[in-house]
Amino acid sequence: MTAAFSESEMMIVAAARELAGQRVCFVGVGLPNIAVNLAKRTVSPEMELVYEAGVFGARPARLPLSIGDPTIVTGATAVTSMFELFAFYLQGGLIDVGFLGAAQIDRFGNINTTVIGEYATPRTRLPGSGGACEIAINARQVFVIMRQSARSFVERIDFRTSPGNLGGAENAARIRREQGWLGRGPSVVVTDLGIWHFDEAGEMRLDSLHPGATVERVRETIGWEPKMAPDPATTPAPTDEELRLIRVELDPEGTYTA
């Protein structure tokens, strides 16, 4: 029997599992941080964690609230200047997966973390790029973790902070080739309802529904007519061990799962 779990917990667990087999992961602030730290303790113990703060090979003894926490430094393989981290590790092409959160995403995986509304007179001022724009362009592939809602999964994002598949796969492939980008763009979006991959057209496609989530709820929380796999899988529920890691080790105060 499996314990009850929240949608946030399912999302984090599903995101962590997607990292199985990945070698070098660039860890973004917020939800990516807990998902990657869970993966490191479960499916990808050998995965190297890279933090934009300038850390390669981090072994955080606790879940860092920020991505510049002292626990990512002590016992790490290397601490570098941010110049070196961004220039040699990221732009140099050494990152396999860049893991991002987002405020808005469109069907092609283009991301907005800058403003809601007009740029000059925003309704909501969001954090901005940070390293996200660089991660989206330079990481070999991009994973996204975010909650679905009609305000976040939108037909048209208010500001393109981080490019995804641009206007579609063909368009994106041409531009990436012409401009010498190393990355192949977004490959998975994990939400509180399911797991989306990108199809041949470069569009998000729902491949797995989390336990309890329905196609109806997916449609209600999305601003376009979504593509869905003919027979979406059901995401396996979190295991007791995954839940224990989240609840006891990683986020005992429920900062990420509230």
């Binding site: 602030v29 917020g30 941080n33 934009e52 703060a53 300038g54 850390v55 860092p64 609230l65 920020s66 991505i67 510049g68 926490d69 002292p70 430094v73 002590t74 016992g75 601490v79 570098t80 200047s81 941010m82 110049f83 961004f86 220039a87 990221l90 732009q91 800058t114 740029y119 000059a120 007179t121 925003p122 309704r123 909501t124 001022r125 969001l126 954090p127 901005g128 790029s129 940070g130 390293g131 996200a132 724009c133 660089e134 362009i137 330079n138 500001f159 393109r160 902070t161 981080s162 490019p163 641009l166 531009i175 012409e178 401009q179 010498g180 980008w181 900062t255």
Partner: protein, 304 residues
């Protein structure tokens, strides 16, 4: 060289002028809240504040009215949410704070160009994003080798850069371990540099390990000895990040009144950092002390 040791009050009074571009750098690590608070106490005006991550320190400074503009790449309270004071003056129909926005690498590249006296720095960011249209200082530049276009950012040369560090000598030779951020680049790019340290050390301590020096006294104007000057940020090996403070700041900064009350209680009515640490209390302070993780020793060798 003679000693540059100064009080924070004198250092800020002498080196920070109204209208200056000021960079209090440090990526999560080593953020000089003490310098920010002294700037608030001295009621500096019209500052342009540069920082990759404006963080709580700039939220406090913006709330206190010292800033007219931010140059930045990520505007938030890491892992917690937004910065209330900054949001109040940047959202809605009549923003009262000017924003000049880059990505992290763009900001780092700006400081690097400033430090290296380069007219621009090329990076592969910004393609197919809306950032160049939001910020016309992000401009394309063509490779002279016929292999396409990259974006450039312009040099950023702060009037004053403030760096918190584990230790420095009296002449300002400064050593840091743990996250390095872009403090080195921001310091070399600046006209004036204030170094704030946990500990003043003898010249010989610095010279015993020259590879740890990130800033030479040559470019330093004042050395302020201010233990706990980075709280609620942290100092690797000395004290932990006070995450509780960052979480507590969220509801405070959502209210203009609560923010002003906080500034009065924790900044304006205190004389200096020592008073702040005393007010913080020994229990809070000791709860932030880490265990020991020694680096080990390496040998440089004597060569006569």
């Amino acid at each position: 060289m003679s000693s540059k040791v100064a009080s924070m009050r004198d250092a800020i009074a002498d080196l920070v002028r109204d209208g200056d571009t000021v960079a209090i750098e440090g990526f999560t690590h080593l953020i000089s809240f003490a310098a920010g608070h002294e700037i608030i106490r001295q009621r500096k005006r019209d500052l342009t504040l540069a920082r990759l991550t404006p963080d709580v320190v700039y939220d406090q400074m913006v709330a206190a009215g010292v800033a007219r503009k931010l140059i930045f790449s990520w505007l938030g309270n890491p892992g917690v949410g937004g910065l209330g004071a900054i949001r109040r003056v940047t959202e809605g129909p009549l923003p009262a704070l000017e924003l000049e926005e880059y990505s992290h690498f763009g900001m780092v590249a700006r400081y690097t160009a400033g430090a290296a006296n380069l007219p621009f720095f090329p990076i592969r960011s910004y393609f197919e994003t809306d950032l160049p249209s939001a910020n016309p200082l992000i401009r394309p530049v063509e490779s002279p080798y016929g292999d396409g276009v990259v974006y450039a950012v312009p040099p950023l040369k702060p009037d004053v850069t403030v760096v918190h560090a584990q230790r420095a000598s009296a002449v300002g030779d400064t050593q840091v371990w743990g996250l390095l951020g872009c403090q080195k680049e921001a310091a070399f790019a600046a006209d004036r540099v204030i170094v704030v340290v946990e500990e003043l050390v003898a010249d010989e301590v610095v010279r015993a390990d020259p590879n740890r020096t990130i800033i030479p006294g040559l470019i330093v104007d004042a050395v302020v000895v201010e233990p706990w000057g980075a709280h609620p940020s942290y100092v690797q090996g000395a004290y932990d990040r006070d995450n509780r403070f960052y979480l507590d700041w969220d509801p405070i900064s959502r209210s203009a009144e609560a923010t002003e009350a906080w500034l009065r209680e924790w900044v304006r009515e205190l004389d200096d950092r020592a008073a702040y640490v005393e007010k913080l209390g020994p229990e809070r302070v000791s709860s932030l002390r880490p265990g020991r993780a020694p680096s080990g020793v390496v040998d440089y060798g004597v060569y006569r």
